[in-house]
Subunit: 340 residues, 2 copies
């Protein structure tokens, strides 16, 4: 199916239909204009007590307050509204049972076009319900990459729907870069920007934006130690495309995409790691001090700041709080286990 | 010590030193000006999906984003900054180990005066730590009303500190009324205002404000079914001063105060009840839909709306989200128990 040796199967799906090449800053500017009528311009939050704890000045871009509760809506919305009318009418398709699935479903609804989401039979019921609530058609498949690919390919053939990959699609990367655009435009002069790192859509878009708008700002990715393929890839100078993630950060289990890897290298992005214990502690701190219900995949960015205080001492640090779609029951079990 | 037959022991402490009489709207206006340099003007939040669920238009005054995480800071701040300089220098004292204790400690710090908090030996360590962190002197006593009263009285004698009761003090009631003043001023035309009801400081202040600013707005208290002394008091026309509260809403276990009862009757405030199961469900909904970490004592107000949909159908409803000082471990156990 795929001849490019450094693409994972998931990437190959995207590569089959996505516009080629990496997005540039002009694509992010275009995305910002395109999605403006549909997305929330989220606030930037502060916490004096967290600043004291961290020893630096933290500015939180509150993407957990974005529509459907995550920055993912930006990229999905940009992809949906980038489609020519004729293509758009045939709809969009993806295979994410997480935030991207819900984001694409809601984005498709804003344009009134069909959305198909391929969902493994063992997907979390609550997440599937969210996707259905946004009006997408669900297509169950066996919980394997092969089954997922085959279901997606079949849907594309049968419906003509456009595949929108969760993080390698350049339209998605460009959309994710608009969060940093708002943050830097809103409150300039950052020494550092940090975003969580999973597949690299948000971090890639952020790196492109920062390089254009504020070249002195250093960009960091925060990655779970149990899903450190991004960290390892940059260390080795070669993308790690096989790793079984083991982390509570359910939004960060995807492997760094090939175009995302290229963007991170191009912009000298550095990746810092935090283990799940540190991330849970950071999440509790965020909950207690900001009263914002952010998910573990967001808290990892605060965890790396707290674990690397010396790197950020006294600096002005922007952090994208990426989402708030917390699985309350799962976390309750974790906390209850930790407290007893 | 006390000859007024309808005052509880806690009230008698307050009556001994507090200014007499009920606060009026002019006191609330004065409080607003007095505390303006110290408090946050909290935002008003909306959630389309909650509006759909509730069948009405909900406007949330986000007092969980107030300093120290609760509206309580308003009343404490007004009491502290109402004191003449000579009195203020001797400090303030109270006997709340909950939000009021922390609020008074922080308020005293804003004025640079001493604060004494009497704390029962069995108080929750995290809450005591918060009070200490704000710089108050802690005074432990046996976990009885008699011991608490005696410790407070001794501290007043020894230090000359001014007692600030959590909800019967008219300066506190006036301060709490400023939240509704901001809400109504910010976004007028409410059919209904709802606040949680514990001792009646917030609800009393809200009733006074609404009567003056927006007399057509009906004011409701939301009370836990397991601490329904306010509901029963208004039903009987006589204040219930003996009831052992049994509710997860730890901020609403205080009994309705005598002046608070008088204010609620004067303004025809109605009280609606919600049981803890409904309150926990409402809290989960609030967490999921708004990503705001509000405490059970806030969620009870949403629970009564959902339990009385017909009363509020199609109306414009203002709700004070009173606080966000969630005991994460306690809730984790509750959720974990409920989920299994």
């Amino acid at each position: 199916m795929n001849t490019a040796p450094d693409l994972t199967p998931a990437d190959s799906l995207a590569a089959a239909s996505m516009p080629s090449g990496l997005p540039g800053f002009e694509d992010i500017l275009a995305a910002a204009a395109r999605i403006a009528p549909h997305v929330h311009h989220t606030p930037v939050l502060h916490s004096q007590s967290l600043d004291v704890l961290a020893g630096c000045e933290l500015h939180f871009k509150a993407e957990h307050l974005q529509r459907m509760g995550a920055f993912k809506f930006r990229g999905a919305c940009n992809a949906v509204w980038s489609l020519p009318d004729a293509t758009a009418g045939r709809g969009v398709v993806t295979h994410s049972s997480g935030n991207h699935g819900a984001a694409l479903a809601l984005a498709a609804r804003t344009r009134g076009i069909p959305c198909h989401v391929v969902v493994p039979e063992n997907a979390v019921a609550a997440k599937v319900a969210a996707i259905r609530d946004f009006g997408a058609s669900l297509h169950y498949c066996a919980p394997t990459i092969a089954a997922r690919e085959s279901a997606c390919a079949r849907l594309q053939r049968e419906t003509g729907a456009e595949l929108v990959h969760p993080y390698t699609d350049p339209r998605v990367i460009a959309g994710q870069g608009t969060a940093a655009l708002e943050l830097l435009g809103n409150d300039g002069g950052f020494d550092v920007l940090i975003t969580p790192l999973g597949g690299g859509g948000l971090l890639g878009g952020t790196a492109i934006t920062a390089a254009a708008v504020s070249p002195k700002t250093r960009v960091f990715g925060a990655e779970p130690a149990g899903a450190a393929d991004g960290f390892q890839s940059l260390q080795r100078g070669e993308r790690v495309s096989e790793l079984v993630p083991d982390t509570i950060c359910d939004g960060l289990r995807g492997l760094l995409g090939a175009p995302n890897f290229a963007i991170l290298r191009q912009h000298n992005v550095e990746v810092l790691l935090a283990d799940d214990t540190a991330t849970l502690q950071a999440m509790r701190l965020l909950w207690q001090r900001t009263k914002q219900l952010v998910e573990p995949s967001s808290a990892v960015a605060v965890a790396v700041v707290l674990a690397h205080r010396e790197r950020f001492a006294g600096q002005r640090v922007g952090i994208v709080l990426s989402g708030g779609n917390v699985d309350i029951d799962m976390l309750a079990s974790l906390f209850a286990a930790g407290a007893s």
